[in-house]
Assembly symmetry: C2
Amino acid sequence: MNSTANSTLQLRRVAIDTYKENVAYLHRDCLVYRSEGFQALSKIEVSSTTNGRSVLATLNVVDDSSITAPGQLGLSLQAFRQLDLPEGAAATVAHAKSPESLHAVHRKIAGERLAYADYKAITADIVANRYAKIEMAAFLVACTETGMERDEVLYLTRAMADSGEKLAWHEPLVADKHCIGGIPGNRTSMLVVPIVAAHGIFIPKTSSRAITSPAGTADTMEVLAEVELPPRLLNDIVRTERGCLAWGGTARLAPVDDTLISVERPLSLDSPGQLVASILAKKIAAGATHLLIDIPMGPSAKVRSQADALRLRKLFEFVGDRVGLQLEVMVTDGHQPIGRGIGPVLEARDVMQVLENDPDQPRDLREKALQLAARILEFDPDVRGGQGYMLARDILESGRALDKMRAIIDAQGRRQIIHEPGKLFTKIKAEKTANVIAIDNLQMARIARLAGAPMDKGAGVDLFAKVGDRVKRGQALYAIHAEFAADFDFACEAAAVDSGFTLGP
Amino acid sequence: MNSTANSTLQLRRVAIDTYKENVAYLHRDCLVYRSEGFQALSKIEVSSTTNGRSVLATLNVVDDSSITAPGQLGLSLQAFRQLDLPEGAAATVAHAKSPESLHAVHRKIAGERLAYADYKAITADIVANRYAKIEMAAFLVACTETGMERDEVLYLTRAMADSGEKLAWHEPLVADKHCIGGIPGNRTSMLVVPIVAAHGIFIPKTSSRAITSPAGTADTMEVLAEVELPPRLLNDIVRTERGCLAWGGTARLAPVDDTLISVERPLSLDSPGQLVASILAKKIAAGATHLLIDIPMGPSAKVRSQADALRLRKLFEFVGDRVGLQLEVMVTDGHQPIGRGIGPVLEARDVMQVLENDPDQPRDLREKALQLAARILEFDPDVRGGQGYMLARDILESGRALDKMRAIIDAQGRRQIIHEPGKLFTKIKAEKTANVIAIDNLQMARIARLAGAPMDKGAGVDLFAKVGDRVKRGQALYAIHAEFAADFDFACEAAAVDSGFTLGP
């Protein structure tokens, strides 16, 4: 029937960012809108009459010709980009057929256990932008913890890993690490990579940018070096240096994951099954053979109890074993931020202090990085069990880790501009003489974000006291740095309402 | 924290119809967008600095100042209307807190049985526009058949019924009927209401307009009379005539239902629980005491097997009994369209032929209407069991039903313009001499819609043959009527691809 339902419209780019959902705009008086029985939120298929491409989009109805006039077909930025045509090009619209795999989603909703072929079909349709946001929500809700057996987590992991490109390194040991997140200042990758690469272990580390946190590893590394590298260059760097610290967005690794996250996040869906499939799919696609997972646990961390941490560890192990990953899980201390800085520049400073063996370095960051590096070093068959920590410490203290980091920075492209902490700053002081009882990870992250991190590299929070420290009345607990006045005010107000610190006897 | 996160923006009406979801537009360079850590699809709360109102909306990020400039806050039509302020008025934005009741949705997702208070809180938040579309999708998926016990269907029904206004008629017997839909031409309400109202039974029938079908009862009645009536006038008419045939949209009855339908429909979620709660909530809010439910069953109807029909009937009865409705269910023949006309004018013609006892009247429409009216007449304690049908026939044949229909039309406001079937028409002919084996409800509805129904009143399909009829090669099966050439072409093309008729020996 689609063939009968097309009438030519002129393409128009509508400069609205609708994130991971394609939106099409049709004027209410457009003949095509009237005759097709479309309504707002209908899913339509937009096809080019020239390049053979088509995209699916959710319809919004427009009453303002300056946005989209009758006879025009407006597309949001994402959709316009996918169709890959100039403005004014001819396009046709038709009712979109529901993706075939939606039947599997309905079976999942009805409580059935899905097979690998089902997960495969669903992820393929999502990658092809054939799912609307509410359809993805339906899939994700149907797949939450109660709905998804261990085997299904494995199927989903495999299907996601296969949904995009895959890297093949042709190395016997390709190491990687991943932290499930939630702890500000936790920039261990920037220490672990130079340590293990200095030993010779192959560790092509790619990282994400911050989405809800004040800094991702990519944002922080970017203070020191280029992180957006063409795949070919990245490959050369890793071959030479045995490691890198780059942004992972340039390769289309497990792309379905990014799309699903755009729905999971606003819905606060964070079932262990989704988390495990999401992380492991990316790592498999990135070609890892050996993987260390860091699960920080604490009252304001993502994982808040030993029981939850254990359950998550078992699920990682179950899937990891079956996809052929040599996988280790470490449950780490997540009851407060790691290091002192929160925000790209401040975190990069902490990292460099540790690498430079600066006497003023943050000891907790150094210690955690050594623990993690030790486990990865022991992936090497030639490293005796239990010797990893000493080896990691030797590499760090001898300056070999610093040399490796400098080599990686130079290879990726050293920054010419030296970023400084934000010029606007204030100190938040203790209201009484007491001990620091707790530091709220979530509130510290929030203050740093309000101050402008991660967009403003120098913005963030610099901690002067940690849990267990004795502070005197009027002594600074931390400084807030910002680059813009409005951001600075927001952050200071937030800190005034709730400093994030609990002081007590 | 919301208090720290506001900065004043100028309100702007963005003429985009986003249906049941509020959308807010912020320019990417707007300071508020940058500092708040918003991202596309964030849910934000927009508050007036003058009238105290606030609305929640999903954020779209704009790169075109002609849609929304930095310093402005664009709102889609729905959201702008809810905030009820002029353009240029001052508004502030903040991160929206998730609605409290989302915790209950997460419990439902985790497989828990929810209590009445949970359903109450969820529906209240949805009515207050505190749910995003994906959150409603999450709720609906969690509530599908496997997830919702009978008691929960009852709770949801009650909560939905209480979500808006409720009518109180102060009559001992307030009759209503409802068909679960899916059968083109099935305009029995326009016959049942005059028959039972002529007997004296109180039947304040309100109906919907077509959403996916070629005509709703309101669209068809509108050919003859006004259907959009102020509640006060409607009340007077029902008091005088004992019945009416009006559009139900003027009263805010069970408004949460309309919102949920906007997500259920594109997701094709049609669990029995949702269906029963949706229908019964509206009827309870409309003040019905006695209700007849029509479940058409057939291969191209909504309900396709006796087992499904029975299960649905039991669920209607379970909930109906507990909300104090005297409820009867009839499973009817749904294997082909009812009557001849499909589309408002053509269906109104069929109805008037039956009321006028025209020898050419469609007998199946007459027969079905009498069967339904009979059951409602027997709600009257003074009508002996089994006498309903004869009584209904008497009322129809004596012309009392026609008189009552004319009185209702005059009371609601008779149309001065006489609508005619669309001037453009063609006949679809049998390709061979054969029997009509089947008529596809879905395809006939589709052709009628493409022809312009229900928007173009005279558009639609006029059937000349029904299942079981013998047709000769070249004999007309049906005519397509349209008012506009483009629509006409679409409908003819669709009929050429699939006529909707199956001919066989």
